[in-house]
């Protein structure tokens, strides 16, 4: 029928094409990994990327279609792709709408453990010196409830917070009263080694829907070596605590985190099996953080980013195999990264965001009333570095803390969107600024990324996940399930 036009009539000539912003990195002699403005990945050959940059693409050549669908090129008179990218970016960044949803209360510095890498805790029975006072807690709560989030989480930290259970009870009931008046929802978490868990505490947690978060480093000998306490039974107490808490509160009301020390590196399978044995639904493979005593005791430099990545890759392999054997089980850090890579959900997780989450993601109220921009910032202060101490509960309010020059400087100077190396990095959309880490390791919130072990780990993890997604459909199917839900 003559009234219909042939396909060629609808092609745009190349002078009507324009490039959209994208980042890329060489992955092989002829190969490039390319990401668009919102971090969708596509692989191109060197020849293809050169053609693309010169806009030597024509509808029908296959490259045009791939580049157009991936938002690398657009028609210079078209608007929809730019609007689409704007909308998706807005969704990805909308974690910024919930300002300071997390508030940590260090109710005591005292602890009955003496872990070598612990940055902060004190072996002391002197309550007056290392416990938070009721007045300080009350002021902290006032500040917490000033933040604009519709829902806040209060996390109890230590030391071992259960050593000051009385104050926890007071804060919970005061927060609930405020929550009712100000119609701001409030959730609670206690970060504890569970050694002091008893029926009274469990009943209290149950009645107030309080979550427990604990540490479990792996098998008994490893855990007990990492976490010495009188009696040498940290592992036994943690495991029986997890079991009891799951029974009393429900299986999803207690979580465990592990820390990788040098001694862990060769034992990732055993560590994972420990989590599996306890019926937990996943594991968070975490590197050791470079703070406080961890640096002082030279723990931090005991292993490199590459040896940690090797540990992570073996662990992920083990986790995937567990899934293939029929048990759903996740590696949580990969889940977060995959959610960023495969969806536009807003992820405010502290290591994976820019603007950084210091202050505007979390505030920490120290036992003595000092307010910090992050938990790591508080740990730095214990070794004399006050870079992330924003003020004091008696002298400040939410506004003065969050608008302090110190905080604004650290956040704005560390933005990955404009940082050298990051701004052109193919992984930028899924990465994070992490100013505290770079301050601690390089003395500068921005940091020189090629020297950063954080950067090395991020790149290593993302490259590894992409490789699995490309090479193993079987594994990819599992990884896709972890994204987003």
């Amino acid at each position: 029928m003559a009234r219909f036009l042939a396909a060629e009539a609808f092609s745009s000539p190349s002078e009507e094409l324009a490039l959209l912003p994208f980042n890329f990195e060489r992955t092989g002699t002829e190969q490039f990994l390319v990401s668009n403005m919102v971090g969708d990945f596509i692989r191109l050959t060197e020849d293809e990327i050169n053609k693309l940059i010169d806009l030597k693409v024509t509808p029908g050549d296959g490259l045009y279609e791939r580049a157009y669908a991936a938002h690398l090129i657009t028609g210079s008179r078209q608007k929809s792709q730019q609007q689409l990218l704007a909308l998706r970016l807005r969704s990805r960044m909308s974690f910024l709408r919930e300002v300071t949803p997390l508030h940590m209360f260090v109710v005591t510095l005292r602890c009955e453990h003496s872990c070598p890498y612990c940055q902060v805790s004190r072996q002391s029975t002197d309550r007056s010196r290392f416990d938070m006072s009721e007045a300080t807690a009350q002021r902290g709560l006032d500040i917490a409830f000033e933040s604009k989030s519709s829902r806040i989480k209060i996390e109890f930290q230590g030391g071992e917070p259960l050593l000051n259970f009385g104050l926890i009870k007071m804060i919970v009931s005061a927060a609930q009263a405020k929550s009712a008046v100000l119609s701001k929802k409030v959730d609670f978490v206690v970060a504890t080694n569970l050694a002091l868990l008893d029926d009274t505490i469990l009943a209290f947690c149950k009645a107030n829907e309080i979550l427990l978060s604990t540490s479990l480093d792996g098998p008994a000998d490893l855990h007990n070596k990492n976490r010495p306490r009188p009696g040498g039974n940290s592992y036994e107490l943690a495991v029986s605590g997890i079991r009891r808490a799951r029974e009393a509160l429900g299986p999803d009301r207690v979580g465990a985190l592990m820390t990788t020390t040098e001694a862990s590196l060769g034992r990732v399978d055993e560590i994972i099996d420990e989590y599996l044995k306890l019926g937990l639904d996943g594991i968070f493979l975490r590197p050791l953080s470079p703070f406080g005593f961890a640096i002082k005791t030279k723990q931090y430099h005991r292993y490199t980013a590459e040896s940690w990545l090797d540990f992570y890759r073996r662990g992920l392999r083990r986790v995937l195999d567990i899934n293939h054997q029929g048990t759903p089980f996740r590696e949580f850090y990969s889940s977060l990264v995959l959610t960023r890579m495969l969806t536009d959900r807003p992820i405010g997780y502290v290591d994976l965001r820019s603007p950084a989450g210091i202050g505007i993601g979390a505030l920490v109220y120290n036992y003595d009333g000092g307010v910090f921009a992050s938990d790591e910032g508080r740990m730095l202060a214990e070794t004399g570095d006050n870079a992330f101490r924003l003020g004091h509960v008696d002298e400040d309010n939410y506004r003065s803390l969050v608008l302090s020059d110190k905080l604004v400087d650290a956040i704005s100077m560390s933005l990955t969107q404009c940082a050298p190396e990051c701004s052109t990095c193919v992984f930028e959309s899924h990465c994070g600024a992490n100013p505290v880490h770079h301050h601690a390791t390089q003395g500068d919130a921005l940091g020189i990324k090629p020297l950063s072990d954080f950067c090395a780990r991020q790149k290593g993890i993302m490259r590894h996940l992409l490789r699995i997604m490309d090479e193993s459909p079987r594994d990819a199917a599992i990884l896709r399930r972890w994204a987003g839900s």
Binding site: M1, R3, F4, L5, A7, A9, F10, S11, S12, D40, P59, Y64, E65, Y68, A69, G75, Q78, K79, S80, Q81, Q83, L84, L87, R88, T343, D344, R480, R481, G484, S485
Partner: protein
């Protein structure tokens, strides 16, 4: 079996004041009447006698096939008589009639789940497979006819579809009609089949949103992830950009949107790419419908460019559905038979073909899936997959 939805009345009298009228059928003895729009259905000479005895109501007489009972004298003053092929018409149905020519169209069938109003035959696309080939004519009278019909519809009607042409060709009038639906049929879900290009204009989206209809959805076709492929299918350069922009503006204002992909030789081979793109970029739409082609209208003329045996895209379609499901996009497959679909797609396959043009073939008789199968279009020039065979 295909129902005839339009035809010519044998007689039509008593409409002297109007050239176009909308009437509703009612049962013999039903006392309800709506300002003279109700016509009593008469099927036999007995029926006719009763009407004449009881009252002087207007009648809608359907020939019983013999042609005799209608010859009797004494028809009421207002009467329409139609041939026997319209015996499916029943009380509650609504009909639009052009009295000088006696041409009429069934606008609404009370017993059907698939009521749709054609709003106009004009369209700014010219799709290769259009089932309702666009005409550039002044047919704005149709909007009036619909406006008159709405008060006559059953308030319990579950859904109504507006189709075209492009319903938003006269956007102000059409959006006014949506406000009428909101007021007169508050319980009825309304679906508008539109090419979406009009929504690239913010003022049209704003007007649409202001109607604040409780259950309104715009169903908009997207045929590819790439501009020139979509533009070729709809035969309009620049359409892809406007359509996508329109979808974004609707969603930005919280309006409901369904994305539709009609599957034919231009779109089916790339359906996985298209659905990957939808999953990544438009995952916030309310529904995605992947639709088998109805071989009618332009689709027959363009068969050489369009025909593909559904069995040849079975695997790609299964992967495409998978990708959408994994992205938590609400997806359905329309118009395709179970025996040409991968079993993984069955839970998403819907019996979508309107009852008046839906059929099965003799192969289907022993099939265990027949009661769940979409079956075939009986309209146009049906073409079937070589893979049709009963599931036993």
């Amino acid at each position: 079996m295909t129902l005839a939805l339009s035809g010519t009345a044998d007689r039509c009298r008593g409409f002297e004041q109007h050239t176009r009228s909308v009437i509703r059928l009612k049962a013999l003895g039903d006392a309800r009447s709506s300002a003279g729009a109700d016509f009593t259905v008469v099927r036999t000479s007995d029926d006719l006698k009763r009407v004449i005895q009881d009252s002087h109501e207007a009648i809608f007489a359907i020939d019983d096939g013999t042609g005799c009972f209608l010859s009797s004298e004494g028809l009421p003053r207002r009467a329409i008589t139609v041939p026997a092929q319209f015996s499916y018409l029943a009380p509650g149905d609504v009909i639009g009639i052009h009295t000088p020519s006696r041409k009429f169209r069934t606008l609404y069938r009370h017993n059907s789940r698939h009521n749709s109003f054609l709003v106009t035959e004009r369209c700014n696309n010219y799709c290769l497979m259009c089932s309702q080939p666009p005409k550039d004519i002044d047919d704005r009278w149709i909007l009036d006819e619909i406006r008159q019909s709405l008060p006559l519809l059953d308030k319990e009607t579950r859904t109504l579809t507006f189709t075209g042409g492009e319903p938003l060709s006269d956007s102000v009038e059409f959006i006014g009609l949506l406000a009428d639906c909101r007021d007169q049929l508050p319980k009825t879900a309304v679906q508008v089949l539109t090419n979406g290009r009009a929504f690239a204009k913010s003022e049209i989206v704003d007007a649409w949103r202001k109607v604040n209809h409780p259950s309104l959805i715009a169903a908009i076709p997207v045929y590819a992830a790439v501009d020139h492929v979509h533009d070729y299918v709809v035969q309009a350069k620049g359409a892809f950009d406007e359509t996508i922009l329109g979808i974004l503006k609707l969603k930005d204002r919280g309006q409901r949107v369904e994305v539709r992909v009609v599957l034919h030789a231009q779109t089916a081979p790339i359906i996985l790419d298209t659905c990957r793109w939808i999953a990544r970029n438009l995952s916030f739409v309310d529904h995605v419908a992947l639709m088998g082609l109805e071989n009618t209208g332009f689709a027959i003329a363009n068969e050489a460019q369009l025909w593909i045996d559904p069995i040849d895209y079975r695997a790609a379609l299964a992967d495409a559905v998978d990708v959408l499901v994994a992205a938590e996009v609400n997806v359905s497959v329309y118009n395709l038979q179970r025996c040409v679909l991968a079993q993984s797609v069955w839970p998403y396959a819907v019996q979508s073909i309107s009852d008046w043009k839906n059929a099965f073939i003799s192969e289907c008789e022993p099939c265990t899936e027949k009661s769940r199968c979409a079956g075939f279009f009986s309209s146009g020039r049906p073409r079937r997959s070589k893979a049709i065979s009963p599931i036993l």
